[in-house]
Symmetry: D2
Subunit: 252 residues, 4 copies
């Protein structure tokens, strides 16, 4: 029994600082580093890569839509050709930078709207999976557990990993209940820990509507923007270890 803990990092930009990257790196096994389109800039990227390498944290590319102002959270519709090139460019830039810093790229996790749209749109997911494969067919494509992105990676013969959100309620189809819905965010830490253990041990979880649904996740998303999130991450690590679950990077 094993699990990876991942977090989105390197989302600062020029004069603007976002996230508590320095502290988050001590709690996670995988860092998804923004690639300059929805967040991040070249210098932020290089500094974040160096910090991840120093902390022995696995590095992934975190490509997003070319929309800094919307932080990659606005839905955008690119042509398949544009989307493909946009993935090649961002993942390629980060990969070369990681290698220039003496590390190696381990995975790719799309960001924001690109992640959410590709979770439901198989054609789009396939474009992403093929682009990642063309960069390096040993890269692990991370997507919402059970989503089209994971399916597309599998269909392309690309390694994949399903991601779960420990503190979020799921509907019966395995999609996240929107944050705007009452009860969609779980605040009781004990419940969150139990859910993560259930995911890992049984590969299932109780949905928002009370149904036991399949949820096979290889990685759990750790939020890195509040002090509370970090304290919780620390607790989660301890409790999982105590239950004999190894915390380790994807594919290692």
């Amino acid at each position: 029994m094993r699990i990876d803990l991942n977090s989105d990092l390197g989302e600062s930009y020029g004069r603007y600082t976002l996230g508590m990257d320095g502290e988050v790196l001590r709690h996670i096994t995988s860092a998804n580093i923004a690639c300059g389109f929805h967040a991040g800039d070249p210098l932020v990227m290089e500094n974040t890569i160096k910090a991840a390498v120093e902390n022995g944290v696995s590095i992934g590319a975190h490509p997003g839509f070319p929309d800094l102002n919307g932080f990659g959270r606005r839905k955008m519709f690119m042509s398949p050709q544009e989307l493909r090139a946009c993935i090649l460019y961002q993942v390629g830039a980060l990969k070369s930078m990681v290698e220039a810093c003496g590390g190696s790229l381990n995975h790719v996790k799309p960001h924001g709207s690109m992640y959410n749209m590709a979770a439901k749109d198989y054609e789009m997911a396939l474009v992403i999976a093929k682009a990642v494969k063309d960069i390096d067919d040993s890269l692990i494509l991370v997507g919402l557990a059970g989503s089209m992105l994971v399916k597309a990676a599998n269909d392309e013969g690309l390694p994949s990993a399903g991601e779960a959100f420990a503190d979020r309620a799921y509907d019966n189809d395995g999609f996240l209940i929107p944050r705007s819905v009452d009860g969609s965010v779980i605040h009781d830490e004990n419940v969150v820990v139990d859910r993560v253990v259930s995911m890992i041990k049984k590969g299932s979880i109780k949905s928002f509507y009370g149904k036991e649904i399949k949820l096979e996740a290889e990685t759990i998303c750790i939020h890195g923007d509040t002090k509370e999130a970090l304290i919780f991450a620390e607790r989660l690590r301890k409790e999982l270890s105590a239950k004999g679950i190894r915390i380790q990077p994807l594919g290692k």
Copy 2:
């Protein structure tokens, strides 16, 4: 006796088309492809790479300042750390894309103001040379013949190549006479051909002021934006071949 003919390509952007890339590729041995900061976008880059690969033309990265509106021609002052990251990012993105398309990156030639500033500023040139070396120490750094950029590459143990401009007058220090000066652009094709042959055979050329100055160039810049430039490129190829000068890519 050999020479490389290079041209700046892939400078279109989205709905905007620039240059006659399709035709230029038939006349050159090296393509410097814009990397998305001063020109180019991911899709333009991928399409340009594919066309270069199909034409058997060597591929180089053509990084510039992050200034699409100024086309990388405005002087900008970045910190050494920013400049380094900006080179890693652009060259890295192009390198990965070239490899995803089945090719390999051969050289790097900075664009516009970055090229001109680094020609005179050794510290800046060194930052660029080190960044290119950290990406891949077999990449050839192309700079103005005799400039600080070539010197910095040599000092770093990075392969280098000096570039000459066949139709431009030089001052006694080997710098280009600004286009605004009368007589700085040479329109007589016979003169231009003779100057190129002089550069290659003797490693020297007559300056604007009549002095014979050293000019050792491994590559000649071919403009790709007018019909006339292309007709001239064709003629230049023929005359050089007739004089026993081989036209071939840098380092091959």
Copy 3:
């Protein structure tokens, strides 16, 4: 009987030139000038404004989504607050620049995907209409004839104008048949002229499916990117004048 002839202008950007603005200005009565988000930059805007003023052509703002790479043609989803501010900013910038050049802003016509989405989405159209009204309640909002954008302007008490595309086929609901459909673009100039005259005289036109549909347009879009379009614009002007239809700017 009267009609306005409008064209999208000022879509160049930095080193990139688009459109034949200088010639188009001689054929139209209204210029929709890009505002720097999907195309155009401040210098292009100022130069285009000056040229429009010199030619006595009415000036409108042509705001688009913040997506230069996609030329404002990609669907994007902004919040109502973001969309409102995005309209205020673009229309406001152009309005001030027009006034600094001694002219006055006459109308606003959204561009590309913003235009198309607002044609069908009343809530979005209302956000645009309210923002335009808050800038200046005498501005004329131009939208697809019969669309939600025109309706929203009317509901807000803002002057409006319906736009028609002379060379395009319409479906029975008054929406354009996509260009990808065979027969959706009308190439026979005589047919195009007859359709325009029918729109103006009868306020109706024959749909793609043969049904006579209402189409009340105050302005006709003139393409400005090909020599043929301009030759046709000239012919259209002559034939309309000959039929007693006055060609004049909106609201004048």
Copy 4:
């Protein structure tokens, strides 16, 4: 005896928050609002304008170089035509937005490198002054006290105001000693208050080198990014009022 207290506001961008605008507004009489080029976006601008209007604070445009990544602090060289259009666009956008929110634009203060370069470069300062004048010749142009920007405004017949930095040392020519120099930033609050009073009452101040130099300032810059700066701002207000100096907006 009177003085204005100004602060740079609205420098957040999309997901990125900068500065303590809400609190700063309670301490100042003039807000310089970023215009979307070096910082700020349309929604941030509208929200900042509304907050300034609610707090009865005078509003100024704070245009900068088109360099979000460098926060307008990198030197950039634009042509006079580009610079002019860049000022017209930014000031024009903010002016229209302020008016749409029921306020009126009072002044213009360039940002960062644009401010510093124009302080020493009269030609550049003149381009800025003329552009501001063409937008509205009653706008007050704010520049470093005694600088070329103030001189250019005066020469153009545009209202001007000199700005002073209360906690910074000056050289004998009235320019700021760089922050990197030991002793260039004054941390003793009593000294800072005394210096401000000296500026206002005597129009002079002691330079870094001990010489009494002329420093006629109509406005003092208040930093808004630390708690300490705000506490100091409050103290400054009290002490100035106690000494009979009225704190009020420029030109009112």
